[in-house]
């Protein structure tokens, strides 16, 4: 009896220890899409984390890309994990601090260069940026090259695609209200005066909610930034990306104009909404325009929309808008394993540079290539007509100021500032406070 108890005790202890060991085991394979692992025992395993950039958030698409890669590189196995914009940054932060960061990550320079690169967590990809690559990308936009390069000269991002964020109107509502006269349908541009007239026409026609300046968080804040700064052609930062400049005369005038329209009942604001909420209201026809539009959103909401979502540039005083851009590409976390870094570079070059795969990778993003050599990747496809509209807006791409140090603090300060001015606080004081907060963050991030 005594022996029986002893053995039972040992068995139970062993069982519990095994359970605990299992808890502490490598759970990395969960929720990951394994690539075509044809590598032998000497093969290299790398991990790729992607944000939902078009179909790069879709496992079937990414598995196909990984399979194509493995046809050329059978010794490299790629595990994929899909992030979302709600919790993705938190997952990456936790992984960095735990020493379990992925080998490759896909997003934009504001994260890869300004945040993780500046913190010394990324691998310098300068060896991928040869002269041919630089001239190929510069031919499309010099800003892309600059955005991927850190202030210390290192390249922390290898770009794949880009887009221009714009706005959209409900074409039929505008037509019924007689507001189409205020837009240039050929260039998809309008002036600030035209925009004001269109708002008035919509209101006169009984449209309850013309547009909503959402400021419930940072989601889709590029829309409100572009709206406010374009109205009187304000610059968001200085050319060196070292100072925030929306407290300029033009910036304050643009924000004051928004408040004036809101007080006149021509425009709404809502501190309880973010871009996703506004897009949903636009998609179901509640609001007549969206300030958070782009090619990807048009595709995402296509099934819900039963009207013509007509893409437009943001209104500006001179009729020449300056749109906010999005640049997306790959970076490599420095996990100290040269073999993995080399394998990651091979994956990135295959996805971005390969003559066949490169354009396919861009199409998967739903945006446009950063390389001029790729030409029109949508030519001859069923998306050609739709993408031609958005492609026509690419020349309006403005400065990529998202790489300014202290970016994360600035984003929070921005929507809080919008809440302040719409709550009746003085616009100048609120903008100055916003600039002060953002500048302090920039100085702290720059180590000054």
């Amino acid at each position: 009896m005594k022996n029986w108890k002893k053995w039972m005790s040992l068995l139970l202890c062993a069982g519990m220890m095994t359970g605990l060991s299992a808890c502490g085991g490598d759970g990395g394979s969960e929720n990951t899409a394994e690539g075509n692992d044809s590598g032998g025992s000497e093969g290299t395993e790398i991990t790729l984390w992607t944000y939902p950039i078009g179909s790069w958030g879709d496992s079937a698409t990414v598995d196909g890309i990984v399979a194509a890669f493995n046809e050329q590189y059978p010794d490299i196995s790629v595990s994929v994990e899909f992030l979302d914009y709600t919790s993705g940054d938190d997952q990456v932060t936790a992984a960095i601090e735990a020493g379990t960061a992925p080998d490759i990550i896909m997003e934009g320079p504001e994260r890869l260069v300004t945040t993780w690169g500046a913190a010394g967590r990324m691998v310098d990809l300068s060896d991928l940026w040869d002269e041919g690559t630089i001239s190929d990308i510069s031919a499309v936009s010099e800003a892309v090259v600059n955005a991927c390069r850190s202030s210390d000269g290192a390249y922390y991002e290898y770009p794949l695609c880009m887009n221009a964020h714009c706005m959209a109107i409900n074409y039929e509502v505008f037509e019924e209200a007689g507001a189409l006269q205020y837009i240039d349908e050929e260039t998809r541009t309008w002036t600030t005066e035209d925009f004001g007239n269109a708002l008035q026409a919509l209101k006169d026609a009984g449209v309850e909610t013309t547009g909503i300046v959402y400021c419930g968080g940072q989601g889709g804040d590029q829309g409100t930034r572009a709206l406010a700064r374009n109205l009187y052609s304000a610059e968001f930062t200085n050319a060196d990306h070292t100072e925030w400049t929306m407290n300029s005369e033009a910036g304050i005038r643009g924000l004051q104009q928004l408040v004036d329209w809101e007080q006149a009942g021509l425009l709404s604001h809502d501190a309880g909404l973010q871009a996703a909420d506004e897009l949903q209201l636009f998609a179901n026809g509640t609001v007549a325009m969206s300030f958070a539009w782009n090619a990807s959103n048009e595709s995402n909401y296509a099934e819900q929309i039963d009207f013509t979502a007509y893409a437009m540039t943001f209104p500006s005083d001179d009729g020449v808008p300056e749109l906010d851009g999005g640049i997306y590409g790959f970076g490599i976390f420095d996990n100290g394993d040269e073999a993995k870094i080399d394998a990651a570079k091979q994956f990135i070059q295959f996805v971005c540079d390969d003559e066949t795969q490169g354009p396919q990778s861009v199409i998967a993003s739903g945006f446009f290539p950063v390389r001029s050599s790729f030409g029109n990747v949508y030519e001859g496809s069923d998306q050609e007509e739709r993408m031609t509209v958005f492609n026509s807006m690419m020349p309006y791409l403005g400065d990529y100021y998202n790489v300014t140090p202290g970016w994360a603090d600035q984003r929070t300060a921005w929507w809080n500032m919008l809440q302040n001015i719409f709550n009746g606080n003085d616009v100048t004081e609120s903008v100055n406070a916003y600039v002060e907060t953002s500048s302090a963050a920039t100085q702290a991030a720059s180590g000054n």
Partner: protein, 302 residues
């Protein structure tokens, strides 16, 4: 005359063997507790004295604590958190006690039905519940504005989560619905365990319903009440998910809570040391509140 007998050598060996077995059984849980609770707590305390970010790790003494009490947003978050606790804890406790008092006498199926109803928001998950509430609070398509507008109570639509005056109360309302489930279940169980013979004896002696409740039932459910008070207080202090999903702390920091601000500093601005310092202060505040509750409710329980 109870004279304690000295254990023999054999007895000592048996005691030692049983003690070793007991510790062996405790060991896995102990490793888990130390590894995932004690060590992180100590690390949190230690790093709160450091300027700890993604790029720096330098000792700064009490600087984080000094900065915290000069940080207007932290003070705002602290006041908001206290407001949530002060409103939510009594309301949850009283409401769940009232509901339980009514339903525990009902027959089994009906009682279970009501328990399920009140427990549903707990098992549904915060995200799903929040999505529904977000829709109801929506200024343009929400249920509240529709009903209040149709009945003529309001003239124009209200941005419930976008207005400083209403946002925090909306958060508290949702918190109440997700917090009453467990207390209701616990109270129903506690009231069902009250000794019937004592109640009958009191009734025979002419006690009124009110007297039966306060003199017989209340003292017997006091341990449950104490548990509910402490748990609800801790949950209310740690209100985070609702803020993250609904308001991001806005408008104008009117729904900022300490937990959300800790998250924001640590995960958005990468100021781990500062976030940990706030975590230490929050833990101290929760400990003080819990101690007071133990002292007050525990004394009555003795």
């Amino acid at each position: 005359m109870n004279k304690r007998m000295k254990p023999t050598g054999m007895q000592k060996a048996l005691i030692r063997r049983e003690t070793i077995s007991a510790y062996l059984f405790l060991l896995p849980a102990l490793i888990f507790f130390v590894g995932f609770v004690i060590v992180p707590m100590v690390m949190c305390l230690v790093t709160s004295f450091f300027n700890y970010s993604m790029t720096e790790f330098a000792f700064v003494g009490f600087s984080n604590y000094v900065e915290m009490f000069q940080d207007e947003i932290f003070i705002r978050a602290l006041l908001n958190t206290i407001l949530i606790v002060v409103v939510a804890v009594p309301v949850v406790t009283v409401f769940s006690l009232w509901v339980s008092s009514v339903i525990y006498k009902m027959n089994g199926a009906v009682c279970s039905f009501f328990r399920c109803i009140f427990y549903l928001p707990v098992v549904t998950g915060t995200v799903a519940v929040t999505v529904v509430w977000k829709w109801m609070f929506n200024r343009y398509t929400g249920l509240f504005n529709y009903v209040l507008g149709e009945t003529g109570i309001i003239d124009s639509d209200i941005s419930w989560l976008g207005d400083e005056r209403t946002a925090i109360w909306c958060i508290i309302l949702i918190l109440l619905t997700t917090s009453v489930g467990q207390p209701v279940v616990l109270y129903v169980s506690a009231l069902g365990n009250v000794d019937e013979s004592l109640i009958e004896a009191a009734q025979v002696d002419g006690a009124t319903s009110r007297q039966v409740f306060w003199k017989i039932k209340w003292p017997q459910i006091m341990p449950t009440t104490l548990y509910i008070l402490v748990i609800t207080t801790i949950n209310s202090f740690q209100c985070y998910a609702l803020i993250q999903l609904l308001t991001s702390g806005g408008p104008n920091h009117s729904t900022e809570t300490i937990m959300y601000y800790i998250y924001y500093q640590a995960f958005r601005l990468y100021r781990y040391g500062y976030g940990n310092a706030m975590g230490v202060i929050l833990a101290i505040i929760i400990a003080v509140f819990s101690a007071i509750q133990f002292k007050v409710a525990g004394r009555k329980n003795d």
